[in-house]
């Protein structure tokens, strides 16, 4: 159970709601991940972090799929269920 109340998407500014729509498109899902809502609790942090994430997770020398495997490995070593 989360120890903080998660910001609802409709509580975010219109700019950040657009950011959330882009996140849904990126992951091909119809909801906003909790982490996105947490990060945007401090908008200057969340927007900047989102831009860094999009940059790092796009296809490059490594494919996005390979990068997701790296992310899964980091999550496994950190025993992070989320």
């Amino acid at each position: 159970m989360e120890i903080v109340r998660l910001t609802e998407t409709q509580e975010l500014t219109s700019e950040d709601q657009k950011f959330c729509e882009a996140t849904k498109a990126w992951f091909k899902i119809d909801f906003v991940p909790k982490m996105s809502r947490v990060l945007l609790t401090v908008p200057e942090f969340g927007r900047s972090y989102g831009r860094a994430s999009r940059r790092a997770m796009s296809d490059g020398a490594l494919s996005r799929g390979q990068k997701e495997l790296i992310a899964a490995t980091v999550s496994a070593i950190n025993v992070c269920e989320y």
Binding site: M1, E2, I3, V4, F27, K28, I29, D30, F31, P33, K34, M35, V38, L39, Y49, A52, S53, R55, A56, M57, G60, A61, L62, Q66, K67, L69, I70, A71, T73, V74, S75, A76, I77, N78, C80, E81, Y82
Partner: protein
């Protein structure tokens, strides 16, 4: 703060960046490593050295040679884990590098960075690996600190994003 600090430390320690304010300490092994081997053990060690394209097998395997049966079994498992399969060996070395950085293993980072590079990881590729390691050391720490419940059902089979039941 906690997430970013944790991630920055993972990158700095994982890449063995010299401390900013105190000299880096040398790290002599805590135990002596064997340097003479029975023929049966030497055969296994030679195969290991060849696998890693090294003149001598990595120290961790030389240590294991104290018990030849354990060495043979563990090496067989390691070889199977790192050989080409659904994922190829270069990618597995990249994943091992990410695991070593996240686990803050100086030894593992050293070995797997060398292997990943030897098997084709470019400097641009390395930049991308470290960026992903840093990003996910950030968000995993944040998620754990806030005890976020998963967004996705881990048993979904990948043919669509199946949302986890929400409390």
């Amino acid at each position: 703060m906690a997430g970013v600090t944790h991630a920055l430390n993972s990158v700095a320690d994982g890449l063995r960046m010299a401390p900013e304010f105190v000299p880096a300490a040398a790290r002599p092994p805590l135990v002596p490593l064997p340097d003479a081997f029975e023929p049966e053990v030497k055969t296994v060690l030679d195969e290991i050295a060849a696998f890693y394209a090294m003149e001598r097998p990595p120290a961790v395997f030389r240590w294991m040679s104290r018990d030849r049966i354990f060495l043979a079994g563990y090496w067989g498992a390691t070889r199977a884990a790192f050989s080409d399969g659904a994922l190829d060996r270069p990618l597995k070395e990249i994943l091992a590098l990410a695991a070593s950085m996240t686990g803050k293993s100086d030894y593992g980072v050293d070995l797997h960075l060398r292997e990943a590079r030897r098997l084709g990881l470019t400097e641009q590729g390395l930049t991308e690996v470290v960026e992903v390691v840093q990003l996910f050391n950030t968000v995993t720490k944040i998620a754990d600190t806030l005890r976020l419940e998963p967004d996705f059902n881990p048993r979904a089979n990948g043919d669509g994003a199946e949302r986890a039941p929400q409390a």
